[in-house]
């Protein structure tokens, strides 16, 4: 039986951990304990733990963990190729700071091949990305699934720290890159991560200080797309670049 205080507890996770590990942890801690994606900005104050040149997503993980300290029963950490070196580093830091951490590596043998409903669907881009990330915890079909559409534009990358940039894209934007890999159930599949629609004007988004900038720049050159990176909040110059690219391409 779970104590009433378990209601206040949380299970944190980041990246795309294996679903069986998430399930085991939930089984142990309690299925009624809410899950919280630590990658996402939950308004936590700046903990100042990490250097300023750390990507904003990793900083969110630490800031959220510090903010939820005392409530986080466990952190399920994606530390394999499906995340990045910094995922492994932050897992190490959290472990050393006294958090219980369960590490997850997603081996290629366990890659799935799920249908790309949201990545290729007709719906606001922010909704599609949000719903793709929800499939990490529960991949079962949801209500109000969007119908497919031909892409007029593409968005490549990870879910941004600041979703405002997504509002500029039309609903006919296809999702590529790591986010598409998440929907397919194949985090760390480099081949899929680098596959974009030929001739589809695509914005290659990365957080500043993320190693994926190397790939984003290369792909943007190769496919005539626009590479942008952003550290914290999206600024006017980035918004203007994306708006101009969408209108003029």
């Amino acid at each position: 039986m779970k104590s009433s205080s378990s209601k206040k507890k949380l299970i944190g996770y980041f990246g795309f951990p294996r679903r069986d590990i998430l399930r085991d942890v939930r089984d142990r801690v309690g299925f009624d304990v809410p899950l919280v994606d630590l990658d996402v900005d939950h308004g936590a104050p700046d903990s100042g733990v990490l250097p300023v040149t750390t990507c904003r997503i990793i900083t969110n993980i630490i800031d959220n963990a510090m903010n939820f300290r005392g409530r986080l029963a466990v952190v399920v950490a994606a530390v394999g190729e499906g995340k990045c070196d910094r995922g492994r580093h932050v897992s190490f830091l959290l472990g050393n700071m006294g958090f219980e951490v369960v590490e997850s590596r997603f081996p290629p043998e366990e890659f799935e091949n799920r249908e790309l409903v949201f990545s290729t669907g007709h719906a606001p881009l922010a909704d599609k990305i949000e719903r793709i990330m929800e499939t990490v915890v529960d991949p079962s079909p949801q209500r109000n699934m969007p119908g497919p559409c031909e892409p007029t534009h593409g968005f490549w990358g990870v879910p941004p720290h600041d979703f405002r940039v997504l509002e500029l894209f039309p609903p006919t934007t296809h999702v590529y890159g790591w986010t598409r890999c998440v929907e397919a159930g194949r985090p760390g599949d480099m081949e899929l991560e680098c596959r974009v629609g030929e001739g589809v004007p695509t914005v290659f988004f990365t957080q500043s200080f993320c190693a994926k900038q190397d790939i984003a720049r290369y792909l943007a050159e190769k496919y005539g797309g626009l590479a942008i990176d952003c550290h914290r909040e999206i600024n006017d110059s980035i918004l203007a670049k994306v708006e101009a690219f969408i209108r003029l391409s």
């Binding site: 005539g224 626009l226 110059s237 203007a240 670049k241 708006e243 101009a244 209108r247 003029l248 391409s249």
Partner: protein, 221 residues
């Protein structure tokens, strides 16, 4: 209709009814309470009925002034650099540099005023100083002057450093169209011609773009 391109140091205002063009210092805008019909440029946002994206205004202006199918266009302003490259008259690449190298344009003006330099007669310099940003660049100029270099030559070296930055930023094209106030700075244009075939388009490219955009929005311009 009153169209305006309000940059950080200069504002260009076009009355489409009369065709008159006015170029004033942006700080003078504060003394006026004019509300433009359509404006672009970061100082124009709060002074207009309709605001248009700077890069779109520049790109549309370039397309209306240049007939080439493939071309590169750069606008060097007081605090930023905007760049658009077209392939088959479709945007192939665009960029807007606000962070690195910012305010170098305004710094040239400041240095010019400080040392009383006439840019129409200033000779280009073979050497350059590294112009990471306006502040670093200014420090290099002061250093050159203290080493005994004449101020004009030191500023020309700053301009040369700035040209190299812009040239690298736009991907080192063989030929490019130049927009903005530096079209009227022969030292800048001549220095740039060491690297690339430069075609100055003048200071009103974004205004041309606003005309195109307004017309496509159904307005009478």
């Amino acid at each position: 209709m009153l169209l305006a391109d309000c940059g950080s140091t200069w504002a260009k205002i076009l009355d489409t009814a009369t065709g008159s063009l006015e170029i004033i210092q942006t700080r003078e805008l504060i003394l006026r309470d004019t509300v433009f019909d359509v404006a672009t440029g970061h100082s124009g946002r709060s002074r207009c009925r309709e605001f248009k994206n700077e890069l779109i205004a520049l790109a549309e202006g370039g397309l209306s002034l240049v007939d080439d199918a493939d071309f590169a266009l750069v606008d060097v302003g007081g605090r930023d650099i905007k760049f658009v490259r077209f392939n088959g008259r479709k945007v192939e690449k665009l960029d807007w540099n606000l962070a690195c190298g910012s305010t170098t344009g305004a710094t040239v003006e400041l240095l010019g005023k400080y040392y009383g330099i006439d840019f129409t007669t200033l000779k280009q310099a073979d050497e350059w100083v590294n112009v990471t940003c306006g502040v670093f660049g200014m420090e290099r100029v002061l250093e050159q002057v203290s080493l005994g270099n004449p101020p004009g030559r030191s500023v020309a070296m700053f301009i040369h450093g700035m040209v190299r930055n812009v040239y690298n930023f736009v991907g080192r094209p063989e030929r490019l169209y130049l927009s903005g106030g530096f079209c009227e700075n022969p030292c800048f244009v001549d220095t740039f011609r060491r690297y690339s075939q430069v075609e100055p388009l003048g200071r009103t490219v974004p205004l041309e773009g606003l005309k195109v955009i307004s017309a496509s929005d159904g307005k009478t311009v």
